[in-house]
Amino acid sequence: MALVEIRGVTKAYFRGTQKIPVFEGVDMDIESGDFVALMGPSGSGKSTLLNILAGLDAPDEGTIHVEGQEITRLSSRQLADWRSRHIGFVFQFYNLLPVLTAYQNIELPLLLTSLSKKDRREHVMTALEVVALTDRAEHYPRQLSGGQQQRVGIARAIVSDPTILLADEPTGDLDAQSATEILTLLQRLNREFSKTILMVTHDAHAAEQAQAVMHLEKGVFTR
């Protein structure tokens, strides 16, 4: 059984009374340790699929199993719990809390665990080492470059050692050099730490760094 099994997932939005289908009957498997890039034009449903997989949005039909657990049956409260344990989310615009330092931003997901302060510190320092930002621990987001902020975002996503890392256009807001650094970091997470990664991207160069590339067009996988 695959780590992630998506079966017959259908999703549509309504604009007034008009139904706008996003995708219909999508199937997809992601194996443990995969690094999958999900490409497609705007409005193809990439981010919607990512949100559904993260339990942030619910499909109209179909099922999603992660590690054998059907998440489409969970309540919103159960999904919040599940998300804190299984999902690491990397945003396009980093989305760090500006009032917290890099250290505190990374520590944030650990507040939902029963870890002691000392254990939380160990986890945060490890995550900072992985993203090579130990010297920036006490810096606020405004004191960091875009690339550094995204590395803090990645550290926050991996600090609780989630089952799967979901990245929504992680290099979309970065210059070429920073984008390369982020992609190298994601590759390292996948290869050295066996992290399963699903990355949504527009950028073909970014997609090349993944082990597999899937194309979503008008709600259908084309390749």
Binding site: L56, A80, S84, F91, Q92, L97, Q104
Partner: protein, 379 residues
């Protein structure tokens, strides 16, 4: 990091706004405490008068005086143990704005009737022995920097001219509501300086049995009913309440205006808190993505609102408490003008309510927030 630190960090997001919001809440609660204190002081004044003393004044009003001959007639009424009398002087010391009460009294009988005025025995003797002597409250001594033995001149408004008095005694009241800013001097001095034209403003009667107050009052008023100076007799408490009733309209206005201003400021503060929460919709969505539950996020918002309102409340109520502690210039108008523990408790209850109300709406909005919609806005 802890949830408390997260609350503090969020409050520090826009320090100027947080401080201004806290200050506006503080002003509202200062206003609340001050106005509430006016009302509690007025209420306390109504309770101040004794039920064992009667006040006999002119039926038309206290600005009309009564004949001196009433002293003997009142003293002869069954159940009346002692009679004294008093007049309102209405002068000022140096500055007409510096108001304090001055009474011309029949000193010996007055001090006997009023054990609430505590005076050292030697000072009492000195006061009684000298026609131009004055007995003043400890509050006045402190306010004007007077001392015993000093000669002070009051300028009369009802009784024009400069009136010199020598301070021979200082009293302290047994009950703070009685006030310690009154100025007493001899009725004889007033009588003499007005060429024996003045007569008593009102009479004070000490009763043998307070239970007889109503019957004695009726008897007195009946006996003077057809005279040139009919009387109105009531217990001192009722007499005081009559004064407070004159304040009563002011009390109502204070209450009405204060409530309106208080709630206007609170609504502004609540709106500011809601605005601050609305600006953080994106961050709430991110925290939900990280796994924070609706209840947790709602609690964080509520805690922030409660912190602002409680700190503001503490500043406002605490400020009023400190400012009106001890003797203040307001004591001349409102003896015992102190923020009561009841007012403090009520203020903090309102502060908690403000925190709950202003935090509830953004907390519910946070809980109901669609993460997908919010993230789309952030992006």
């Amino acid at each position: 990091m802890t949830f408390a630190k997260l609350v503090v960090a969020n409050l520090g997001r826009n320090k100027r706004r947080t401080i201004l919001t806290m200050l506006s809440v503080a002003v509202a609660f200062f206003l609340f405490s001050a106005l509430r204190t006016v009302i509690t002081t007025l209420d306390a004044a109504q309770e101040l008068g004794s039920e064992a003393r009667l006040v006999t004044s002119h039926a038309t009003g206290i600005t009309f005086t009564l004949p001196q001959s009433y002293v003997q007639r009142l003293g002869a009424i069954d159940g009346v143990r002692r009679v004294s009398w008093s007049n309102w002087f209405g002068g000022y010391y140096q500055n007409p704005q510096d108001f304090f009460a001055q009474f011309a009294i029949d000193a010996e009988s007055y001090l006997d009737i009023y054990p609430e005025l505590q005076v050292a025995p030697e000072q009492r003797q000195a006061f009684l022995a000298e026609r131009t002597a004055a007995l003043v409250g400890a509050g006045l001594i402190e306010r004007f920097g007077w001392r015993v033995g000093q000669t002070v001149a009051l300028t009369g408004t009802i009784f024009p001219g400069s009136w010199e008095f020598t301070i021979r005694g200082v009293y302290t009241p047994t009950n703070p509501s009685f006030g310690d800013e009154a100025f007493y001097f001899h009725y004889d001095y007033l009588f003499e300086r007005t060429n024996q034209q003045i007569t008593p403003g009102w009479f004070l009667l000490q009763l043998a049995d307070p239970d007889e107050a109503a019957a004695i009052s009726s008897r007195i008023d009946d006996s003077f009913e057809n005279s040139t100076a009919p009387t109105k007799t009531e217990t001192e408490r009722a007499f005081q309440a009559g004064f407070v009733t004159m304040w009563g309209n002011i009390g109502f206005l204070v209450r009405a205006i204060g409530t309106a201003v208080f709630f206007a400021i609170l609504l502004i503060a609540a709106n500011t808190m809601m605005m601050a929460a609305r600006e953080r919709v994106g961050e709430v969505a991110i925290m939900k993505t990280l796994g924070f539950k609706d209840g947790m996020l709602g609690s964080l918002v509520m805690l922030e609102a409660a912190t602002i309102s409680l700190v503001g409340g503490l500043l406002g109520i605490g400020g009023a408490f400190m400012m009106f502690r001890g003797s203040t210039p307001l004591d001349s108008f409102f003896p015992g003008f102190n923020v009561t523990t009841g007012t403090v408790a009520m203020g903090f209850a309102f502060a908690l309510l403000l925190g709950a109300v202003s935090g509830a709406v953004p907390a519910i909005q946070s809980a109901r927030l669609s993460v997908v919609e919010a993230l789309r806005r952030v992006a």
